[in-house]
Every structure is written in structure tokens, then in C-alpha cells.
């Protein structure tokens, strides 16, 4: 059974190409001057520069966290470049002005930026290295009052909105990587959906790291005003490189009274080779604040990155608010993931659901880390947590770290956990019905992940299922 699987395991990372694009890259190293330089390059207002500098000074006093269940050599923060932008990205009037090589890159990734070719129903913001290179369907969205643009553009065009909400969910002092991001973030996506508006299409951001020795620090800020609805998708890829690259993003979601935000991620950063050389360090802070009667739902499919450190969380601030976290995390070869969520119940009758599916193959190490915190005023808070691990082979590991803190007696918490092993008998059963080993593994694993996949928008669910198959191919033998 193992020969065809070997071949599959060694299959190339599909998105590992490097694009030859002239870039404006700042020399490696970090200082107040570099922070100021980034701010100047983006022609930012003084308040934002001040905010960055406060974040930088705070960062200097902080220590890199080492509580996640991952190991990696020390990161040289002075050896990383904090800004790289494709040269042609000055203020663009239309997508026609985008470097054709860049458009080709996105085409290779299967992300059409050309508006005529756009699939109806999805608006895309593409982030190349640190900079947004184009946002599609803007005009259509504006008709509905929806703002969807690059972060830089938002700073100039909607400074009040940005200033009001930036750092309101993830303060610059939140943690080491969030502070670093706050100091040096170069771009990202911004979205605002006005009161009572149901965003007419899926919004999507595609992140691409291209330059070498560059950290990517983007920031996403998404505000759904009262009663608004938005579904947001995020996809990520990077070239294959033998050095590790740091990706420290921040995502802030604000759901005002009665709003709904669905945020889905399919993360496929380069994971390193089978011996663990290269790959992205994905150290990301994602958090949403849910006001009265609102709902924030995170769905993530994490298949890439050498190391994943990520806990999309919800602060259930308002009464009757809902938080959800649906996660599939896959590790193969030498990948390590420490991921989970935090549900902080502040308001009354707040409800949270956590469904985590961890799949470990090869020598991968997968940890679920989740916290449910019910604060004293959160009367009748409810949480349901389901945390399942699947092992493929004998050299991998699955770990679970649930933390529960309940300060109100009326809370109801339910926790279920399981660990299973993908069995030779299951694979044989499916093969006996005519399916190949790879189909069998991917069918068994997608069955295992079904509850999470069904939360994803259709097009994404298929992509996620395929990605999962590719990540795991050759992992059984």
C-alpha cells in the first residue's frame, strides 16, 4: 500500500512558485526609524504613526510567548525585513495598471482579479507581500453602502471609522505578535457594512507572500454595524523557500447589535518540506467582539504553515450574543499546530459553540488549546465544546489543552472529546469498493471534518476538501 502513497506524499506544493516582480523592500531590521519609514511610505496621518510607535515601544518590553506546544529556533527579528511592496503599486486608478506579472501570479493561484472575469458573487481584495494590489467589485458594493478596500485606502478615505475601531478588539498591547503587527503592519483589508445591510456577496481576501526574508504583517478590520450581515473568506499561499518566514497578522471583527459576521479561512501557507526545512511561521491574533444579540462565527481550515499559532476568539460582550468556532487543523510531515479558540462570556444568555477537528499525520504535532471563560455577570451562559483528534500513522501526536473558568453558577458547559486512528481496515473497506488509497484517506478525513466543512461557503468547502486530500496524500502506509 505504501508505494503509491510515497509518491503522493512527495507531491510538490502547488503554490510554491516565486514571481519575478520588482519590489520596494526596506532593509532588514527594526527600529523607531523603520516604523516611521513604513508610516511615511504610506503617507499616514500623525495619529496612526503615534499608535504604531506606542505599539513598538510596548513590544520592546514584551517577550515572545513560549507556552504554545511548538518548537522552533529563535527568530531573528533584526534579520527580517518589515516592508516589501511590488514597485508598481502607487495609487492605482484601476486594475489595468497592476503589473501584469502580478495579475498572472493571481491567475496561477486561481484568483481572478480582472473584474470582467470575476465570478459573480465574490469580491476579492488581494494582498501581495505587504500591500493590497487590488480590490474587485468595489463599485457594486458601494451601491449598498458596503466599504471594502485595502487598509491603507481606508486610512485615507475613512479615517474616522478606522480610528474608532482600530485596536478596539485587539489592543496593540495584547500580545507580543499583536504588538509587533501594530508597529509595522503594512496593509490589509478593511470592511464596513452599514446598519441593516446584508452584504450582497461574499467578500474575500487572498494573501500571498512572495518576497524572501520578509515578514508579512497585515491587518484586517471588519465592522458590521447594527443588524448587518457579512460573510468573509480568507485564503493564503506562499512560495516554497528553504528559510522560515514570519507571518504575524491581526484580524479584528466588530459585530454591533444584532449583526452577523461569518469569517472563514482556508490557510495554505507553505508548510516546509518533509524534513521540516522552510515554511511559514503563522503567528496570528484573531478576535471578534460581539455586541447585543449579534453573532460571530469563525470557520478555519488550517492545512499549511510550518508552525501555526492561532486562536480566533470571541468576546461575547453583549447579552444574547453568540460565538462559534469551527476548525479543521491538519499537520503532516514536520508541521506543528497549536490552535484553538477563546470564548469569553461577558453578557447574559451568551452562547458559544466550539467544534475542533485535529488531524495529525507523518511526524506532525497538533494541539488544541481552548479557553471558555464565563464572567460573573454572564447569567445563563452556555458553551458546547467538541474536540476530536484523528491520527494517521504512528509517529504523529495529538494534544488537547482545554481551560475552563466559570465565575457564574448558572452557566451550562458541555465538553466532548475523542481520539481516533484512521484504520487500515477503513482504507481497505473503501478500496474493496473500488476507491484508490488517496480517495479512501481523503474520504475518511473529510467525513471526520464534515461538521466543519458544512459551515464553509460552497466553493470554499470543495477547495478545503481537496486541500485536505493533498495535504494528507501519502501519509498512510
Amino acid at each position: 500500500m505504501s508505494t503509491d502513497i510515497e509518491a503522493l506524499v512527495n507531491r510538490e506544493y502547488q503554490y510554491g512558485f516565486v514571481s519575478d516582480i520588482a519590489a520596494d523592500t526596506v532593509a532588514p531590521g527594526l527600529s523607531e526609524d523603520v516604523v516611521a519609514l513604513i508610516s511615511r511610505k504610506k503617507d499616514e496621518p500623525q495619529w496612526l504613526l503615534d499608535w504604531r510607535l506606542k505599539a513598538y515601544r510596548r513590544w520592546l518590553t514584551m517577550k515572545e510567548p513560549h507556552w504554545p506546544n511548538v518548537t522552533y529556533p529563535p527568530i531573528d527579528y533584526q534579520g527580517t525585513s518589515y516592508y516589501s511592496a511590488p514597485k508598481s503599486v502607487k495609487p492605482l486608478q484601476s486594475l489595468d495598471e497592476v503589473d501584469p506579472e502580478l495579475l498572472r501570479t493571481y491567475e496561477k493561484l486561481g484568483i481572478p482579479l480582472n473584474e470582467q472575469k470575476m465570478l459573480s458573487g465574490v469580491a476579492v481584495d488581494a494582498i501581495f507581500d505587504s500591500v493590497s494590489v487590488g480590490t474587485t467589485m468595489k463599485t457594486e458594493l458601494r451601491k449598498h453602502g458596503v466599504i471594502f478596500c485595502s487598509f491603507t485606502e481606508a486610512v485615507h478615505e475613512f479615517p474616522d471609522l478606522v480610528q474608532k475601531y482600530l485596536g478596539s478588539v485587539v489592543p496593540y498591547s495584547d500580545n507580543f505578535f499583536a504588538a509587533l503587527n501594530s508597529a509595522v503592519f503594512s496593509d490589509g483589508s478593511f470592511c464596513y457594512v452599514p446598519k441593516g445591510v446584508r452584504c450582497p456577496m461574499e467578500l474575500s481576501t487572498y494573501f500571498r507572500i512572495n518576497a524572501a526574508e520578509t515578514g508579512q504583517f497585515e491587518r484586517t478590520l471588519l465592522v458590521a454595524d447594527e443588524g448587518a450581515y457579512v460573510s468573509y473568506l480568507e485564503g493564503c499561499t506562499a512560495p516554497k523557500r528553504s528559510t522560515n518566514q514570519l507571518h504575524a497578522a491581526v484580524v479584528e471583527l466588530v459585530a454591533l447589535d444584532g449583526a452577523t459576521i461569518k469569517y472563514s479561512t482556508v490557510q495554505n501557507w507553505y508548510a516546509g518540506d518533509k524534513d521540516g526545512v522552510g515554511g511559514i511561521y503563522n503567528f496570528v491574533t484573531k478576535r471578534g467582539k460581539a455586541m447585543k444579540g449579534s453573532k460571530i462565527s469563525w470557520t478555519q481550515v488550517e492545512t499549511g504553515s510550518a508552525i501555526t499559532w492561532k486562536y480566533p476568539s470571541v468576546i461575547l460582550q453583549g447579552d444574547d450574543s453568540t460565538g462559534e468556532f469551527y476548525s479543521v487543523a491538519v499537520v503532516n510531515n514536520r508541521q506543528q499546530a497549536d490552535t484553538g479558540t477563546k470564548m469569553i462570556h461577558v453578557g447574559r444568555n451568551t452562547k458559544s459553540t466550539i467544534v475542533s477537528k485535529g488531524i495529525s499525520a507523518g511526524r506532525g504535532q497538533n494541539s488544541y488549546r481552548g479557553k471558555v471563560h464565563v464572567l460573573p455577570k454572564a447569567e445563563h451562559a452556555r458553551n458546547y465544546t467538541q474536540c476530536d483528534s484523528m491520527l494517521v500513522g504512528n509517529a504523529c501526536g495529538a494534544h488537547t489543552f482545554p481551560y475552563i473558568e466559570v465565575e457564574n453558577k448558572t452557566a451550562t458547559l458541555e465538553h466532548e472529546a475523542s481520539t481516533s486512528k484512521i484504520g487500515e481496515d477503513q482504507i481497505f473497506y473503501l478500496k474493496q469498493r473500488g476507491l484508490s488509497a488517496e480517495q479512501a484517506v481523503s474520504m475518511i478525513v473529510s467525513g471526520f471534518c464534515r461538521e466543519v466543512f458544512k459551515e464553509l461557503p460552497m466553493e470554499f468547502a470543495l477547495e478545503a476538501q481537496q486541500l485536505l486530500g493533498i495535504t494528507l496524500e501519502g501519509s498512510v502506509g
Binding site: 473503501l430 474493496q432 473500488g434 476507491l435 480517495q439 474520504m443 464534515r450
Partner: protein, 256 residues
């Protein structure tokens, strides 16, 4: 159609099959009986290509080709179907999705086009009737949470959809209630064609009242020690295995 010649096989270093020879022609039904632990399921698994079983000698020819040289999925694509004694659960994968994937793989192997989900549903509703199963079964996960009897019936549903050339039914009757037994037997009979063949492994004559075998074989200690017509099954039912074992010079009472 199938020619097994002096087949020996082991599992975990222990030899289980000690030289099995058996010829099955198109249109025939063969019953294999024998004490617990005699190697019946082992034979079935070896024919299907389970990787835990190592073939140590002998040959198996299926429709002129070397069966043992094929991967399990290739055997399935060539029309070999095994109804498992213990069907496996695949949580989260619906019966409908699984069956369509399997059906399409087998079609692809034959150079035919895949069927789309709608056409497949039509086919399914017809096959479901054959085994008197409810449509709701299609949306349930493969065997997960099925009762013992439901699992067995689900195997026959799969057989009805995949329409194999050679079906091996490993104790499909065990665990079935009286009505289910009749339904399953009826399904198997309805699928019978002059161009296909069935091997039924069973402990009970009552199945053979419904699925009438052309040949009955007794397997003991990894060998076929006696073969006969359908009346052999009746005789075994009446007299047990001791006399056959004695005839073959094997120790009696060797039930596992």
C-alpha cells in the same frame, strides 16, 4: 471465472490457509461452510486483497488474469465484491456519497462516463427497493450507528448498486432477522445472472434454502476437506462437522 489453485496464506506469521483449490464458473453459486476459525473469512479477505494477509503460495486466476497481482481497488473495479462479515464504519461520509464515488470509480475503470448525482439517485431508489431499504439510509453515514442487521443489509445494497461479477458474501446471514434474511436472499437471487457468480460463506442451512447453491464446500484447518451438492449442507446441519473432520483425518471438536 475464478480458479484458485493450492492457495496458502498467513497472517501475522501464522499460516491459516493450507492449500485451497476451488473453481467457480459463471452462473454458479458456491457455499463455503466450516467450523469457526477454519479460515473462511481469511479466504474471502485474501481474494479481496486485504494487506494484512500474506499469500505464501498458489495462484488465483480471475477471468484469465492473475488476481493476486492486482491492488484491492483494481480487483473491485474488475468486479470482485466482498460483503464483509464485519462491515466497517466511516463516520461523516454519507452512504449516498460513498456509493456514488465507488460506482463512478468502477464505471471509470470500465471506460464509462461518471453518472451525475441526479441520475445516480434514480438508480439508487430502484436498488433500495430491491433490498427493501428506506431512502433515509442514503443520508446516514456509512454503517455508523447501524444495527448489526442494517450493516449486513447495507452490504447487499452496495452489491446491488455495484453489480459485481464475483460476489463473496461472508456470513451475510448472521445477525439478520427472519424477514431480513428472506429480503437479502431475494436480493441476491435477483442479482444472479448467467455471467456472474456468488460465493456464500455461512454457518446455516436456512440461508441455503433461499439461495440454493450448486456446490457446497467444507473448509477446515485451512483446507477444503469435502465438497458436494446442496444436500451436503443438509447433512451438515443434521450431523455437525465431526464426521467430515474424521473422514479428513483431522482432530474433532476443534471449534475455536
Amino acid at each position: 471465472m475464478l480458479k484458485i489453485d493450492n492457495l496458502t496464506a498467513s497472517v501475522g506469521g501464522t499460516q491459516i490457509l493450507n492449500g485451497i483449490s476451488l473453481t467457480v464458473n459463471a452462473g454458479e453459486v458456491h457455499a463455503i461452510m466450516g467450523p469457526n476459525g477454519s479460515g473462511k473469512s481469511t479466504l474471502a479477505q485474501v481474494l479481496a486483497g486485504h494487506p494484512a494477509y500474506e499469500v505464501t503460495g498458489g495462484t488465483v486466476t480471475f477471468q484469465g488474469a492473475d488476481l493476486l497481482d492486482m491492488d484491492p481497488e483494481v480487483r473491485a473495479q474488475h468486479g470482485v465484491f466482498l460483503a464483509f462479515q464485519y462491515p466497517i464504519e466511516i463516520p461523516g461520509v454519507t452512504n449516498a456519497y460513498f456509493l456514488r464515488a465507488a460506482y463512478n470509480e468502477i464505471r471509470k475503470a470500465k471506460g464509462l462516463d461518471e453518472v451525475d448525482p441526479m441520475d445516480f439517485l434514480d438508480l439508487m431508489s430502484d436498488r433500495l427497493k430491491l433490498v427493501e431499504m428506506d431512502e433515509a439510509m442514503l443520508q446516514r453515514s456509512v454503517n455508523a450507528g447501524f444495527s448489526g442487521g442494517e450493516k449486513k443489509r447495507n452490504e447487499i445494497l452496495q452489491m446491488a448498486v455495484l453489480d459485481p461479477t464475483l460476489a463473496i458474501l461472508d456470513e451475510t446471514d448472521s445477525g439478520l432477522d427472519i424477514d431480513a434474511l428472506r429480503i437479502v436472499a431475494h436480493g441476491v437471487n435477483a442479482l444472479k445472472k448467467p455471467t456472474n457468480a456468488t460465493i456464500v460463506v455461512t454457518h446455516y442451512q436456512r440461508l441455503l434454502n433461499h439461495i440454493v447453491p450448486d456446490h457446497v464446500h467444507v473448509l477446515a484447518a485451512g483446507r477444503i476437506i469435502k465438497s458436494g451438492g446442496k444436500e451436503l449442507a443438509l447433512e451438515l446441519e443434521a450431523r455437525g462437522y465431526d464426521w467430515v473432520l474424521e473422514e479428513a483425518g483431522l482432530a474433532t471438536g476443534a471449534h475455536a
